[in-house]
Every structure is written in C-alpha cells, then in structure tokens.
Symmetry: C2
Subunit: 253 residues, 2 copies
C-alpha cells in the first residue's frame, strides 16, 4: 500500500489493500475504480441503509468510519465497524436486503457502485467476482473472531481488542499512525460494540488508561505500545487475512 494507489485510484485505492489487492492487475483495479458511479458525504450518525430495505447499489467507504448496527427493543447493537477501503455492503448484492443498518460515525465519504455494474463483472471476470466474495468473507471472519472474544474476554480487554483491530486495519489501508489514531468514536459507540453499558465502558476505558495500554479521549485514541495492547487483548491478526501473514502467500487462481 502506498500513496500511488490513492493517486491512481482515489475512490477504491484502499479496497483490500494489505490483503488480496496486490494480486490485481492494472486493468482490474481500473475496472473497480470505474464501478463507483457517484460519491457522497455523510453527516455524523447518518444511516445509509436501514435493516430490511432492498438496495441496488453497494457502498464503499472512502473516508471516515462507519458502523453496522442492529436495533432491538430500542437498543442499538453494533456488530462491526468499518475503516476506509471497506466495501461496507457488498453483501447486499447477493442478499438483496440487509438484516442491519449501516451508519456513519462522524462525517464520512462514500462511493456508490450500482449492482448492474457488479453483475457485469460477475459475468465476465470470475477472478474479480471471487475477490468481491473474499471481501465479504473477511467480514464473516471478523464476526467469528468477535464471537470468540465476546465469550472469552471481559469489558476492558474487549475494548482493547477493538482498538487493536482498528489500528491494524488502518495500517493495512495505508492510514497507519504509530501512537494511535484519530477517530470520532464515542464511548457510546464502543459500549454498543462491546455489548456493555456506557457506564461500564467508561470504567473499563479508565482501567486501560491506568494500565497505560490505551488512552481514549474525544476524537483520538493514543496507544503507547501496540504490542502490549495486543497482548492484553489476546489479539491475533490471522483472522484479518493480511498479506504479511506467512499463511497468506497463495493468492487468487
């Protein structure tokens, strides 16, 4: 991942960066870039898709953060979060309707890919089809890891895990920032993601601060030593299927 990718492909240059993107040729990258018919800017908390709606475009997150949330009995549960480069609702192409909402956290910029263009790709480039598929399966892999962590970890390490994962994923798409990252995530969002109350999230964050593992302040997360944070969170990045993993040497085809 380098800046050239973003110059050449300003809307989709981060898509699967650090993962299978390196297996794509120029023509394929160009074709993905041309998928994006339109870009939009989202306001804080704006929801682009509501659970149950059918859709005929898919959305790539270009800049900012987003959450997938499910409402139940008036409570919001966040099932996953997204960083730039994520095709946040590619699965909508195959599912036709979604079981959850997708909303911006802070302001965000998105690109829209009409499904008929994706259908063209499915019919003419099986390798790209498989790449899109791969992208949606990464979400499933992250869901699985999170299920394990929810069963295994208490509040503070859960939060540490979220922070460690965001940090790693930002790295993969070329937005790494040693020492932490800027984010509009609120304690409310962290609580909704970890399945705990805001109040308890606050105490757990305080604990991380006291342990000098992570400092969450408005708009910024400081991480003095990511290795220590990852150890505390029992974070093992294999499930992100990154390039750097020795196990991921074999590629498309």
């Amino acid at each position: 991942m380098n800046d050239v990718e973003i110059q050449d492909y300003p809307k989709t240059g981060r898509f699967l960066a650090g993962r299978l993107r390196s297996a794509l040729d120029v023509g394929q990258k160009q074709r993905i870039e041309e998928l994006i018919a339109e870009t939009r800017t989202l306001a804080n908390d704006e929801t682009i898709i509501h659970a149950g709606e059918t859709c005929d475009v898919s959305t790539i997150l270009i800049e900012g953060f987003m959450l997938r949330t499910i409402e139940e009995e008036g409570e919001r549960h966040a099932v996953s979060f997204h960083v730039p480069g994520d095709f946040v609702d590619m699965h909508c192409f195959a599912l036709k309707r979604l079981d959850h909402n997708i909303q911006a956290v802070g302001t965000a910029t998105i690109g829209l890919a009409p499904h008929d263009k994706i259908r063209d790709i499915m019919a003419t480039d099986p390798d790209l089809a498989r790449l899109f598929w791969f992208g949606t399966l990464l979400d499933a892999a992250m869901h699985r890891e999170w299920i394990v962590k929810l069963g295994k970890l208490r509040a503070a390490p859960r939060i540490a895990h979220i922070l460690a994962e965001i940090s790693r994923r930002l790295d993969m798409v070329g937005l790494g920032d040693s020492g932490g990252f800027d984010t509009p995530l609120r304690q409310r969002d962290i609580a909704d993601t970890c399945g705990i109350t805001v109040i308890h999230a606050n105490r757990a964050i305080k604990k991380l601060r006291e342990l000098d593992l992570a400092d969450v302040v408005r708009g910024r997360v400081n991480i003095p030593d990511r290795k220590r944070l990852e150890a505390y969170a029992k974070f093992h990045p294999q499930y992100l299927y990154g390039d750097s993993s020795e196990l991921m040497r074999d590629r498309l085809g």
Copy 2:
C-alpha cells in the same frame, strides 16, 4: 422442501432448501448434485478441517450436526453450528485457508466438492456463483445475529435462542419435528457455543426446564411450545432469510 428433492438429489437436496433453492431450475440442481465427488462418514468429534490449513475441496453436510470452533489457550469456542444441507466450508473456496476448525458432533455424513468444479461454475454460471455466495453470507448474517444476542441476552435465553434456531433451520431443510429434535449436542457443546461454563449452562438448562420452555436430555431436545421459546429467546427469524419471509420475495437475477 419435500421428499422428492431428496430422492432426486440425495446429496444436495437440502442445500438452501427453504431459501433460494426454489429459484433454481432442474439443470442447476443437477449441476450442484454433480459437484459432490465423494461422500464420507465422520465419527463423533472428528475434525475435517483445522484452522490454518489450506484446502481444495469444500464440504456439504448431508446428515448429522457439525460445529465451527476456534481454539484459544486450550479453550474451545464454538462460533456456529450446522444442520444438513449446509455447505459448511464453501467460504474456504474464496479464502483458501480457514480461521477455524470444522468438526462433527455425533456421527455425520458429508459430501466433498472439489474446488476446480466450483471454479468451473463460477466461470460459466454467474447465477449459481451468486447462490454459493449467498450461502456464505447467510453464515455472516447468523454470526451478526449471534453477536447481538451475546450482547443482549443472559445464559438461559441464549441457550433458548440456539435451540429455537436449530429447530427453525431443521424445518427449512425438511427435517422439522414438532415437539423438538434429536441431536447429539451435549451440554459441553451448548456451553462452548454460548460462551459460558458447562456448570452454568447446566443451571440455565435447568431453568429452561422449570419454565417448561425446553427440556434438554441426552440425545434429544423437547420443545413443548416453540412460540413461547422463541418469545423468551427474542428470536426473530428474519436473519435466516427464509422463503416464508414476505421480504424475501425477490430472487436471483
């Protein structure tokens, strides 16, 4: 779903039954059936794929139950369970290696689909390609629902949710049994799935028994009134994307 499907397609007749299967034509069903190069019988607890292994076949569960598990620090965590008709590791085709194990619970019969045959389908029938994709996205949808339930529900309703889901999924593939279902699931498996200890699982099961919601005995789960069980578990089947949902009327293409 009816018995004719299983007579005509003994190995894959339950695949996506109750969901998009009804959108397939005879040629497509035949093509899926012919994917299965070989069948095998698995012993109790036998693991067919270990985390990290690459693979060049995918597996459909023909008879019995299976679990996806992730080991961490000697503890087994189950991230999902499977019923007949599930293509348990179709995602292995696009991911190449898996982040988890897949193992039988009790004895099970599976069918093996070589990846080169799947690749042929990807290249020649985009509708079937999309169907396979859809199948893997169902897993992701179930993962999301489970993440919400882990955040929202305590032990007893979690277990109730598992039981309700199994019951519904058996219905969809034509194995419904009003009053409950036979299963080799042990309390250990339920505990590993719910992220609780066996001891606490036992107490929660006792509670379900006392509430007359479900009776889990060796090899059998009795459900006197599924509606009541589902209400207690806050089970809402939309995430299973079943045919019966009004929202699912639109199909492939």
